[in-house]
Point group: C2
Chain length 484, copies 2
Amino acid sequence: MFNNFRPREGETVYLQVHDFLKQMIRTAALQPHDKLPSTREMVGRLGVSRNTIIAAYNQLELEGLIYSIQGKGSFVQEAAGPSVAAWEMNWNSRINDYAGVAEEMDPLKHGVRPERGMIAFSSIAPDEKLFDLNNFKRAFLDRVSIEGEVVLNYGYAQGYQPLIDYLRGYMESKGTDMFGKDILITNGFTEGLDLLLSSFRKRSGRILCENPTHHSALRLFRMHGFEVRGVAMEPDGLDLEQLEAALAEQAYDLAYLIPSYHNPTGIVMSPDKRVEALRLFGRYGVPVVEDGFSEELRYSGAHVAPLIATGGAGNGVAYIGSFSKILFPGIRVGWLAADRELIDALESVKRARSIHTSTLDQSLLYQYLHNGYFDKYLKKARQVYKSRYEAAVHACREHIPFVRLSGDGGLHLFVELDPAVDTEILLDQCYEQGVVFTPGETFYTDGGGRHTMRLGFSRLTEEQIERGISVIGRTIRTWEPANE
Amino acid sequence: MFNNFRPREGETVYLQVHDFLKQMIRTAALQPHDKLPSTREMVGRLGVSRNTIIAAYNQLELEGLIYSIQGKGSFVQEAAGPSVAAWEMNWNSRINDYAGVAEEMDPLKHGVRPERGMIAFSSIAPDEKLFDLNNFKRAFLDRVSIEGEVVLNYGYAQGYQPLIDYLRGYMESKGTDMFGKDILITNGFTEGLDLLLSSFRKRSGRILCENPTHHSALRLFRMHGFEVRGVAMEPDGLDLEQLEAALAEQAYDLAYLIPSYHNPTGIVMSPDKRVEALRLFGRYGVPVVEDGFSEELRYSGAHVAPLIATGGAGNGVAYIGSFSKILFPGIRVGWLAADRELIDALESVKRARSIHTSTLDQSLLYQYLHNGYFDKYLKKARQVYKSRYEAAVHACREHIPFVRLSGDGGLHLFVELDPAVDTEILLDQCYEQGVVFTPGETFYTDGGGRHTMRLGFSRLTEEQIERGISVIGRTIRTWEPANE
C-alpha cells in the first residue's frame, strides 16, 4: 500500500513523505491504531533514506497524527476533537474570467525567472542599496513622536491629510492647475489604475493607448474586459496621424498614456505633441489617464510638464503618480490627481474595497518628504542611475546591432532588432549564458514586437551592464548569421 | 461684477475669495492687465474683512495669476506658458453602477457623524490609547536592522514569507488543518473579501448570509451585483431550519458568515451549530467565506474553533483574518487562509491589482508578533475591553427597555427594541443630547431592523458608557410614552 509514492523534484523529501502518510491517514487508508511500518522497512518501500523517514515520523508525531510506543513502533492516532464536517470544493470551477486573465497574464507564473548570480535586465525596480535607511528611520521616529498612536489607527479613505496637502503642492509645482481637482491616495500606481477601470462605465468597451505599453496596464484592461487599440510610437511620442485616424474611426471609453519615460520605450513625448494630442482627445471627448510613473528620473534636458498640467484649467486628464520607481516601492503609496467629482466617487470605491492605504506608510512618506530627504535622495539616485543609463546606452551602441534604440531617461532602454530576430528564443539562449531581459512582445497590444526587448538597468553595476549587453550582442550576431 | 460672491460656511473665507477671483480670471471675466479693485473697495463689494482680501490677493500673486505695481494696485497677469489644451469632461456621466453603489452606501457620505466631545457608540475601531507604541518602535528597529533596505523594496504578491509562515502556524493553533491550504496577505479583511468576490464566477448571482450582517460586506455584495439572502439569527447563531429551507429553495454562489462575535449582534455560534451548518453547506455544495474579524476578543467561556477548523481536512471554507479590531488597523494587514488552488488564483489577482501589501507593514507586524508582544498586548486589551463590555451590558440592563440584548464579547452590543421604536429618529434625538450610535437597519439584508441599534464601546470610558447609555434609555422612554 506504500507503493505509489513518487518524490517530486525540488521539494523537501521528508515533507513529501509526511504529506503522503498524512493523506493516507486522512482518507482512512490508514486507520486509527494501525501500526506504521518501521523506519527500516519504509526505506525499502519508499526508496528514500532512513533519516528522511525518521524526520517525517517526527513531524507526524508533533502534529498529533501518530504516536509511538517505546520498543513497539509508531501507530495512527485517533482523530481528535468533535466530528468534523469536511467536504471538498472544486475551487477552480468557481473562478471567473477576470481571475483567469490575471493568472494567464501573470509574469511570475509564466515568464523566465533569473537565478541567483545571473545578470538580470528584467527588473525596473529601484536599487535598494541606494535607499537612505537612516533618514527613513529618522522620519519614522519623528512622525511617531508627533502623531503618537494615531499613525497606527484607522484613517480616511481619501488619505492622510498632510500627505494629500503635500502632493497637492507637488502637483502644482509640476505646473498642474489643481483648482477643481483633488487627490486620492492609493496603494501605488496599480491600485489607482484598477480603481479607475473598475469604476468606469463601459460604453464602447474600448481603450486607446500607446503601442507598446506597460504590460501591467494591459493586463488590467483585459481583466476588466476592455478591448485595446494601440497607436504607434515615434521618437517624440505618439504618432498623431494614427491617433487622429483611430479617434475618427471608433469611440473609446478612455485613453491611457505614459508621456514621460514611457514604459517600455523610454520615450518622452514632446511638449508640442502633448498639446496637440490633448486637443484631439478633447475634440473627441475621450478622457485621458496619465501614468506619471517615473517622471522624476530625468537625466538631461528640460523638465516637460505632465499632460494634466498641459490641460490647464481643463479636467480631462486623470493623473496617476507614484514614487515607486525611485523611493521605497515596498510601502505601496501612490496617488491620483483628478477632477474633484471623479476623486469623490473613487474615494467611496476605495473605502468599500480596502478602507484606506496604510496610515503608517502614508505618514512616514509624508515625514520623509517634509524633512527634505527626498530632494537629497533624488539627487544621489539620479547621479547613480544616470551613470548606469549612460553605460547601458554605450554598451548597446557598442555591442547590439539594433534597428532602433530608445530611452530618454528612467530605468530602462528599449531595443528594436532586425525583424528576423525572435527575442523569446534569444532570451532562452542568453539565459544559458546567465543573462536575462524582458522580450518586448508582452508590451504590445497586437501581438507585435517579437523582435524587441526591454533592458532594465536599475539594479545592475556598470560592469554588469557592459558584460550582460555584450553577451546579448554576441548572441544576436552568432544566432543570426544570415544577417551578417 | 463682484456681486455674486456668497461665502460658504465652514470653509476658510480668504480661500473662497481667492477661488472666486481665480474663476473670474479663468473664464476671462477678468482680462489680462485688468486692474483689480483696491482691497478697500473690495471690502464693500464682497462684504468680507480687508485682511481677508489682502490674504486672497497675496495668494493669487504667489500663484502668478496677478501682479502688483507699487502705488498703482493689482493687475491680472497674462496666461503663462504654451497655449494649453483645456477641455471639460462630465466625469459623473462616466461612473458606472459599481462606483454608484459605493457612493450610495458610503456611511461617511450619508450617516450622522459625531462632533467632537460627543459620546460616540458608532465606532468599533480599537482604542489607540491601548497600543504599545514602544514595543512597536522596537519591532521597527529590530526588523530594519535585520532586513535592512529590503523592507522598503518590492516584495511578492502572496506576502512577506516570515509573516505567511507565522500565520500558517497561527491558523494551525486555532485547530485549522492547513494541509492543502495556503495563506494570502491582503490589505485587511476588506480587500480579502473584495478579492474573493471579484474572482468568483457568478452562477446563481446569489449570496447567503446572516441577517443582520456586516454592512461593509453587504456593500461589496451589492457593488459586485450579487443578490443577498439573509438567514435570521438565534441566540446561538444561524437559524438552521431557515438555513436549510433557504438552501433547498435556491442555489447560492457562496455563503458569508461571521461565526464569532458576529457583526452586529455579537453572537458566537455554538460548536454544534457550526458542524451542522457546515454539513448543510457541504450537502448543497455552497462554499463558505468565514469572517474571523474579532475572534480574539473573547472575555469568558471556552475558545470556539473557527469554521475552517471545524471543516477539518475539507477545503470548503475560505477564512479571512484580521487583527484590525485589536492591533493597529492603520497598517492594513489581513490574510486569507483557504484552499491552495484558490489562493493561487487570488495571488495573481492581487498582483494585478495592487502588486502586494506594504512590505514594511507586513515585516513590522511579523516582528511584533515574533517578539511575543501580541500576547502581552492582547492580555492587556482584553482586560480593558472586558470592563467596558461589562459596563455596557450593565448600563443597557439598567437603562434600556430592550426586547433582546446580544453580544458575547468583542467591541459592541446589539439592542433590539420594541418594534414601535425607530432608531433613525431616536438617533436624531440622541444626537441633540450629544450621543450617537449606529441604527441597525444598515446591517439588514431586507430593510428590516429599524428598531435595532449597534452600540460600539471600544473607544469610550466606563463613565462615558454609563452616561451615554442612560441618555439613550431616557430618550427611548420619553419618546415612546405610548409604550410605558
